[in-house]
Symmetry: C2
Subunit: 376 residues, 2 copies
């Protein structure tokens, strides 16, 4: 994997870059739609590529490990072959799901014991086997096995957890560097900065992660309930330490405003379930602001969902039609809203990139943040 820094905004720390992987190029800043169980929910692969214009999607190791399982993924020749998405894929380490989804889990130095949410069976994730698992899934970018601390979090817990995450990282790197991709293409490993919302821990973690000298770096443990200002403070601090010549991925973020603010702080990559999950509940992000399509006021608004955004889904279907579909609990409601919201997110980061390249990002960002968070 290579990263080329193409432009830096004069009014902020925003950057435009180019990540090149075995499955193609990613122009940053970029948003990665979340494809939990080998599918971005309610979206066809063709729509993802042609309508949404996604450049990279995310897969969840925990879900894929449990179902369809590694035997099927390996027989298929990896996730790309299994689901037909031939552009870059990033997989998380499964740590986040193990901590949040599994009712009973036990953290030990070796790793984490947990029970499947599907059948209650017991499993153990270790830094080593999580590397092997992601090798088998066949993502282009794979993530280190870490603990994502909750918010709020006691200082001592955050400190101990961070040190364990660092020890686990060392084991991840050793395993990753002593193994090879299974399908004839290169994979790369991103380590993850932790440290909760404590400046000294974040500093220490960012320095440690930078010292590992991997091809890209991630920031974890944010967007877990802390105030947005606290998230920005941590991102700003960590970005000031992480190397400039490598991509920075802020995990699990966020709203359109969160994304623009974090781009301004120097983040290059994002993922979040927000656009698809909220879509299924009728919350639309548009170029004009936020729409709750369930509301009465849209019942006879026959204008397109978002004429300014463009694209088939956002211009073909009307607000009134989508409102009807969501009240009728029709499949098509989630399908339309998901494609629309993802189209919007990809449009947003593309606009940001153009503004960065033009050197006008900072001023544009301030106007956009206000506009995008307006409730229509």
């Amino acid at each position: 994997m290579t990263f080329e820094l193409q432009a830096q905004d004069p009014g902020s720390n925003a950057r435009a870059g180019k990540v090149t992987t075995a499955h193609g190029v990613i122009e940053t800043p970029i948003f990665m739609p979340v494809g939990t169980a080998a599918t971005v929910k309610a979206v066809h692969q063709r729509e993802l590529k042609e309508d949404i214009q996604a450049q990279i999607i995310l897969g969840n190791t925990y879900h894929l490990y449990l179902r369809p399982g590694l035997d099927i993924l390996e027989k298929a020749g990896g996730l790309h072959k299994f689901n037909g998405w031939d552009k870059p894929i990033l997989t998380d380490s499964g740590g986040y799901q193990v901590f949040s989804l599994s009712g009973t889990r036990k953290i030990i130095e070796e790793g984490v014991k947990f029970k499947s949410h599907i059948d209650g069976s017991t499993h153990l994730f270790t830094p080593e086997n999580v590397m092997d698992t992601q090798r088998t899934i066949g993502a282009d970018i794979i993530m280190a096995f870490d603990e994502c601390t909750p918010y709020p979090c006691e200082y001592d817990y955050a400190k101990n957890s961070m040190h364990r995450t660092h020890r686990w990282l060392k084991r991840c790197c050793e395993r990753f560097d002593s193994t090879e991709g299974k399908y004839g293409f290169d994979q790369t490993l991103f380590p993850i900065v932790q440290g909760s919302t404590f400046r000294d821990l974040r500093t220490q973690s960012a320095e440690y992660i930078a010292s590992m000298n991997r091809e890209g770096n991630a920031i974890g443990g944010l967007s877990v309930g802390e105030p947005a200002e606290m998230m920005y403070e941590m991102t700003d601090l960590v970005c000031s330490i992480l190397p400039k010549d490598k991509p920075r991925y802020l995990m699990g973020v966020g709203t359109p405003a969160n994304i623009l603010e974090n781009i301004a702080l120097g983040v290059d990559m994002f993922d979040c379930v927000l656009p698809t999950r909220n879509a299924r509940n009728g919350m639309l992000f548009t170029t004009q602001g936020i729409i709750n399509i369930r509301n009465q006021r849209w019942k006879d608004d026959f204008s397109p969902i978002d004429a300014e955004l463009g694209g088939y889904t956002s211009t073909f279907y009307s607000k009134a039609y989508l409102r009807h579909l969501i009240h009728a609990q029709e499949y098509l409601a989630g399908m339309i809203a998901s494609v629309h919201n993802l189209t919007f997110y990809l449009w947003l980061v593309k606009q940001a990139r153009e503004q960065i390249k033009a050197g006008t990002f900072a001023a544009w960002k301030n106007v956009m943040v206000e506009k995008l968070m307006t409730r229509l």
Copy 2:
């Protein structure tokens, strides 16, 4: 609406024809995907047109009347404008849903009183207001208000019901003929033959319906639980009476085999929820036979769903991937399976049409019926 009889099969009563409506041409025999609540479940309008190649879809008056409601549909300019489907639409009369969905309904000479399954509110459907409702929905082909008798059905009940259906038909025609379309295009009214499974009643009903001299005719009250042979006997009888120069629509039918057998008896138009409903449960109709995609045997079958059928959905996604999606209860499972099954149904009637035009339908039908009903 016009109908042109283009070819007749020498070995059966199968016909190929052309129905011309204000929203375009329908080549018969044809299958009409069911779009209950202004959407064919789990299918984008673009897929319906480009991938499935549907020529006409069906809307359900009962559902549309309750939600979004006639005020919204009228403000939109009719169902075509509301959901963006610009090809022909047929609406049923709502009778079937009133009888099957509504827990408490009361048949009186005036019409049927029923309670909404959504909010329990009380409504009355009469032959007159059902004509007005379908005028407002704006379908190209609208159906008479009838009673679809259950199976089995007492002779006396079937006889009385048939006579009421005939009386209602007269009122439907009077109302329809004294009103006009609301959106500047012509609509047409199809009457419906009833009579349960009694030969004398079916004969009497078919003769009465034929005497009304409408532009097309329908056969109702079949595919409600009776043996297939009994359905074919009734269809055969009714088709021998209905005029040859008008399209014949067999309501609510059926499996691929049912469709081919009824085409052989002289039916031109079909609709059924089977391809979409069964799709969502993992039952696929393919050119090689029937697949229950949930089964273990497909777990590592990475071949396309149906390579011979062609089309994006059936060839892009593999059986193993679709099996995974349905077990994971993903939206995409229903989406893929629905597009596939409808693509198959439209392919099937197109093949039938070509065989009829070539004069080879009868022999082809016998081979296909056996092949299509094989469980793989």
